[in-house]
Symmetry: C5
Subunit: 278 residues, 5 copies
């Protein structure tokens, strides 16, 4: 018999994403002459400005952090891994990049979980007496995924708009699901995982209009498995939504979290002024 094929975590992917985090070496900055600093600042401002709205799609957001393990963040979104690499290197190789100390880099790709599609296809297959992974299942799954991918809702998750003035505050953190003996996400059935994620999604939907969320997947790309990037008009909303979600069964039992980075989206000029200490 053919091996049964269970899609373990059906997802759709969009843009590649690089969260690039820095502190400023202020002594190195001060050692530069005033003229050099001014020219390097102007060059960096131009470089960031060019990255913000690239011709071939995606965007870069410049963030000034507060009370975080880093001073500054850039979020790059690009259609290709090569384009993403070029964006990150464009910043590092600027003369002003010499005073930036890299503290964390996170590679991921925008992701939309298709739990409900996977469950639906599996149920239909069971109803017709078929096997998950047979030809009919695969065709039906492809059809359902194509339909989902075309929806405005999923398009927005895969190709999210650049942060706007209405929600200037940002919160970024990486996370994983546990694989411990008694709390092992990867040993749960698809149905159980689908149920837990559905409940979790309800918490997020209660914050619609107050918090905009970008989920990026990083399994195979980074030590952490996902990145969560939140935008809000009021930074207290970050505390509220993350607290509520931490009580969701899926987070309470299965989630582990990395560092949190909170700040404000700024213009390229403001970002460079922040490096220069102006």
């Amino acid at each position: 018999a053919e091996p049964t094929y269970v899609a373990p975590a059906l997802t759709l992917e969009g843009w590649y994403s690089h969260h690039q985090l820095f502190t400023v070496d202020r002594a190195a900055l001060r050692a530069l002459s005033v003229d050099y600093r001014r020219a390097a600042g102007e060059a960096m401002r131009g470089a960031i400005a060019r990255l913000v709205s690239p011709a071939d799609g995606g965007w870069t957001a410049a963030v000034q952090l507060v009370g975080a393990p880093a001073d500054l963040m850039l979020i790059h979104m690009r259609p290709s891994l090569d384009g993403l690499g070029a964006a990150g290197r464009a910043v590092l190789t600027e003369p002003l990049g010499d005073v930036l100390r890299r503290t964390y880099d996170f590679l991921s790709v925008t992701e939309a979980g298709m739990y409900s599609v996977a469950v639906k296809a599996a149920k239909e297959t069971a109803a017709r007496g078929g096997t998950v992974g047979d030809a009919e299942y695969n065709a039906r799954l492809a059809e359902l995924l194509e339909s989902e991918r075309a929806s405005a809702h999923v398009q927005k998750r895969l190709f999210p708009p650049a942060p706007g003035e209405a929600m200037p505050y940002v919160c970024f953190y990486p996370m994983s699901k546990k694989r411990e003996a008694e709390q092992n996400w990867y040993a749960l059935s698809l149905e159980e995982r689908s149920r837990l994620m559905w409940d979790h999604g309800k918490t997020g939907r209660r914050y619609a209009g107050k918090v905009f969320q970008i989920v990026t997947g990083s399994v195979g790309f980074a030590a952490w498995e996902w990145g969560v990037t939140l935008f809000a008009a009021d930074p207290l909303e970050f505390k509220r939504i993350v607290t509520e979600m931490r009580f969701d069964e899926v987070s309470a039992k299965y989630a582990s979290f990395g560092d949190f980075y909170v700040g404000r989206v700024v213009s390229p000029s403001e970002w460079v002024a922040s490096v220069l200490g102006q």
Copy 2:
């Protein structure tokens, strides 16, 4: 039916807070000329002095640490995240900031837990046959919270006074609640959490007059979930209260702790003298 809405950890928030920790790079300091050092020290003294009592509210406390993973600490309290960011950057961008090496930054917000209010509203709702999260519950909860917020007791927790001469010693540490299989705070019922926190509070109240405590919440803001900042006239009280609390059921089973930072609140002049090694 509407999804039942359970407030997982009802809190009130006040000032944003940044604990900013430094060591001094003594070789970098010595490399500065005597004149530059004097001018930079005077400028830093002025900068700290301006931060101590900002026009738009909050305060900054300057702390000299002893035997800690850092030499010096600043505690900034501000009404807005933007104001808090400006305070921290004002220190870093001072010329004398070049010899400070950042060792830890902790972002949080003053927090008052409303466990008893949450339990009260839930019980009243059950008594009238309603559902937690229904309109009557929400109205009653808002009313109870408004009343709590207006109380002098809660006002002091959300907008704590700057440390005074009566209690010059300070102890700061971050902490979290565990989410392990057998010790999972986030899987406990609201009633159980309320009971455990009530017992815990009794230990704190026994130290009234000896230890003044500021609790700040950092879920969504930092890797650790809370910050605890204690003030006392006798530093031995830090050992006593933290030891006693560690035997409280809530700490014994559910708490995990970060580094501890102990020292003394000093004037801006003394803080700068400590940087300069005078």
Copy 3:
């Protein structure tokens, strides 16, 4: 009685392997004169070019990373440990090596697991009433291993071809098997381990033609127990295969993973250009 001898994890080995990871110290690079930089770059290009196809076998691949804890990677494969050491040192001692900061070094050797052979020999031995480890078992095992070693399939795993243009993207990560009380790989029977690895292999085989995998063993050589190096034409395949494998029982229960490094194989000239920021 003779002690029973159970081959705990029968393997065949091929080339020694060194994954050598770097970041670039851009300030140190900028401090070099333009002429020195040009000459050092040309010398490094020559050094890498000589390493790519060494006369005595093996190869070196140059990789430009994206969004990773390192900027650049070299993968050295050599027939001897001494040759491998010489390859790594040839890079470090180049003048341009002075601006490379080492972030991670991973020593391992290409490995082909012989689980099925071990099980086969053990079953035959049981069938004839013999003991694992007796003379007949040892002779039969040697015979089976020699036959496996000679197969084209195993030869390719022990002496893998250098990455080609068809699959320029690379993903490297180290991993181990857990030895926890309830998830202890090293306490499983050979049969159980053989079954789990067979199931795991099926996931890999579904990616044949899309992902080329090199497995290197590092027990006794490094803190992590294995290295996995994947090549693909589409970097999204890394996310897909690693996600699927994470749901395999052997990974879900017994695997732990280190950092992930994703990038693209480049020519020696492109690698040096990436160091120089060109």
Copy 4:
């Protein structure tokens, strides 16, 4: 009714203590002129010599470490936290302090556990039908503690003599008690903790005359909960006593340990000579 008050870990405290650990930056040292080095060495020698026997009590011991995560250690004992802070800063702000790199700082206070007193007072209270924490209990406890504090035995633990020539070797390590689900020191009864510590003490007493031990408490002062500082004439005794104690039930089940630092107490001149590489 009044809340029952259980002293969770009754202790007496004496001197504040700072273990200050350094490595030497030999390149920075070599960059100093011979004259500057000589003068800086002489100044440091004077500074350490002044710290050894301060007028207001306590002592400082200078230690040269072997094969440790640090080269040199100073142990400061002082009656007040302010005095302790001054001692540590006096070293750091010396010109020769510029070549010392701080690797670890540990703040604690000499501590004598009063388990037997706590048990005795509790038993007497139960016998008379009273409640732990009532007025009679408190009075009796104060009386018993005062008596203990006055004893020569406890005085020596709270105000230990400076290390002498008879036992020049020193071993320092920090430790904590576990709070895991199945090995939770803080969830044990006072009686159980008293019994375990009594057994543990017997191991220590078998080394009387061979190992002199200073226990310092750091709950509320540091991430680790205790510091143990051992002195001996033969450094092998450190291996013997720590090995034996690791098999004591209290250590086997409940203890976790930090780094170990082993070396020899030296004179201020020898300590400075060790910094200078002479």
Copy 5:
């Protein structure tokens, strides 16, 4: 009754041992003039050569590492802790020591486990109706230990020969035994530990002639509890023996391992040439 005295892990000790690990700061090296480098190299060569065969016993081995978290290792064996400290400092204070960055230092002492002796003495004691720790037991134990100590087998473990040309490859790693709730070495009976170590020893004995092993104990001396230093003619033997041992019950359940350092023993000249990048 006298407290029963159980020797928890009876051992004999020989030479003190310091594994001293370095990376080379190649930029700092390049900044030295050619003449200074040559003179510093020659001085270091002389220093290492003097350490190799000290007049008062022991030896120093120079090792060039491959693909490890360090570039170079020195293994010092000395009869006294003071002599060991002098050896390590002799390297650090050389002018060429300025370009060595210390990455890890491990202090231990050669150790021979006397499990069988402990079990034998305990059984004899039980047979005669005595108590472990009584006078007769102690006398018998001393007699047995003296006899073991005098044996050629134990002498070689306590005072191992310096590595020779026949087995130039070396593998060093630190390890500990677990003290977790369900895998707690320190809670096992002496008999059980003796049995497990006996089985473990059989694996080692199968490699006699292929791998020479030095076991050093570091309880009380370092964070890790033991060091294992292996020598072989073929570095693949390290992978084979460590893999096999990892399946021994004692390792599978109770061992935890640190970093692994693999390389080749070289002459003082070759060691210095490796520092100099020649």
